[in-house]
């Protein structure tokens, strides 16, 4: 990310001259209070927003141009975990994960084994036939993580993934993220909880009012 600005049409400046580089395999916390620009930064990396100016390169693709048309290809190289999970509430655990593979054109015979494998990994194999509505917040987030990881992306973006959870649930979810990092996945983890990064030996980038701040 090189000198990135994001100014909304209402003249609200969400990112101001943010430059940062995250290497492959890094675990990086983006920390800051609400409104500091964490979500905008992740949305820019995800190409849900286009920067007003500056350059953004993700997984070797320069995604900042107006005419960048390979958004779907970019997103297949990353997973995204949201605070509100974004699960299909009328479907089962298994269907939610299989959906991601089905709509990205994976062969049908491949889908079931991969769903089972990833559910085993996040510890929800025994709940695969259950409706997601019957799961706790921590379990729902684990389904969302499983969906984000099922196509084995090298990069995982997480926007306040533990925001809705109690301490124990959050710790369980963090275990998954640290395990993932050990397996080589690059993780960008946004959080408003400035205490959380202190428990982990990972790099922390602080944001305030859309600017990077040194702490």
């Amino acid at each position: 990310m090189d000198h990135v600005f994001k100014i909304y049409p209402t003249q609200i400046s969400a990112l101001s001259d943010v430059s940062l580089e995250i290497s492959s395999g890094d675990f990086t916390f983006i920390a800051g209070p609400s409104g500091s620009g964490k979500t905008t930064l992740l949305r820019v990396l995800f190409r849900a927003e286009r920067p007003t100016s500056g350059e953004v390169t993700v997984n070797g693709m320069n995604i900042s141009g107006r005419h960048f048309r390979k958004i779907h290809q970019l997103r297949r190289t990353m997973g995204f975990v949201f605070e509100d999970f974004k699960l299909l509430r009328d479907r089962t655990v298994e269907e939610n994960i299989a959906f991601a593979l089905r709509v990205t054109g994976h062969p049908r015979k491949e889908i079931q084994p991969r769903v089972s494998e990833i559910l085993e990994w996040v510890g929800l194999r025994e709940r695969e036939k259950d409706s997601v509505l019957t799961l706790s917040a921590g379990e729902q987030q684990r389904v969302a993580i499983a969906r984000a990881l099922v196509h084995h992306p090298p990069l995982l973006l997480a926007d306040e993934p533990t925001g809705n959870m109690d301490v124990q649930m959050a710790a369980d979810v963090m275990k998954i993220f640290t395990a993932l990092h050990r397996h080589g996945t690059t993780i960008v983890f946004a959080t408003h909880d400035t205490e959380l990064p202190k428990h982990y030996p990972y790099r922390v980038i602080h944001l305030a009012n859309g600017r990077k701040v040194e702490k």
Binding site: R43, I71, Q73, R76, K86, L88, F99, V103, T104, G105
Partner: protein, 306 residues
Amino acid sequence: MKFFLSDAILRAFQNMRGNLFPILTTIGIIGISMLIFSTFSLFAFNLTSILKIWEDKIEVIAYLKKGVPLGEVEGVLKKVRRVEGVEAVKYVSPYDALSFMEKKLGSQKNLLEGIQPGVLPSSFEIQLEKDYRNSLRIKEVVFHLKEFRQIEEVQYGQEWVETFSAIVHVFRLTQGIMGGLLLIGLMFIISNTLQLTISSRKEEIEIMHIVGASPASIQVPFYIEGLIQGLLGTGLAVLFLFFLYYKVLLYKVFFLYLTPVMKEWFAGIPVLFLPPKTVVIILLGGMVLGLFGSFVASMRFLRYSG
């Protein structure tokens, strides 16, 4: 990754099965819209066929001068057949004319008692080619006929032909404008209805965008759904219209509400259903409208933004 059409078709059916209520509502709305259009087409088709019946009745009668020898009549007949715009010519002798009048008068034919065939002129009944059955071009034929010295008078019911031509013109214009406006209205209704179906699946579409489904794999199943919904809605509309035709129009149930004079007038008019070719065109049109509606709706909800 390659995107297979068969998978898109399968997904379109799966989507439809999983969203029965909005899909059925859309099919219903398309059905009602297309029923309005097919009913309009049915009336337009029947009015056209009525006009065609009247158009076929347009003919020119050329009365021959008295005393033209029969041998000469044969030669004139051949020449008249060669006049541009003439399709067929029938010679009507004074005897034929008298027996025709007797037939017309029926039980009152005794009115003709004492009239000798020689009193009546012989004539040519001239059928015109289709393009000449209007007030402008019929005059060209009449002009040429009047050049024959053996022909005394040419009649074609000038006023009637002019009125008829004006009716045909106004009807075709109205049909075109109303049909066009109706189609534009249908496009709006169908595309808005399909937008409702798509917006009811906003969450699903959002997740497709998140996981990186290709634009084709997001849009094509919706286009296929649009095609299927257009076909089913239009199919239902045509079936319902056929039912309406079979039960109401064919048996002229509406006769109960007509005056005796109108009943007599309508009795001679055949009520036809749309020809198979038109039905196929309407069904294809419904599919195209469904596809178009999905396409317009997809621009709002299915594209990647950012």
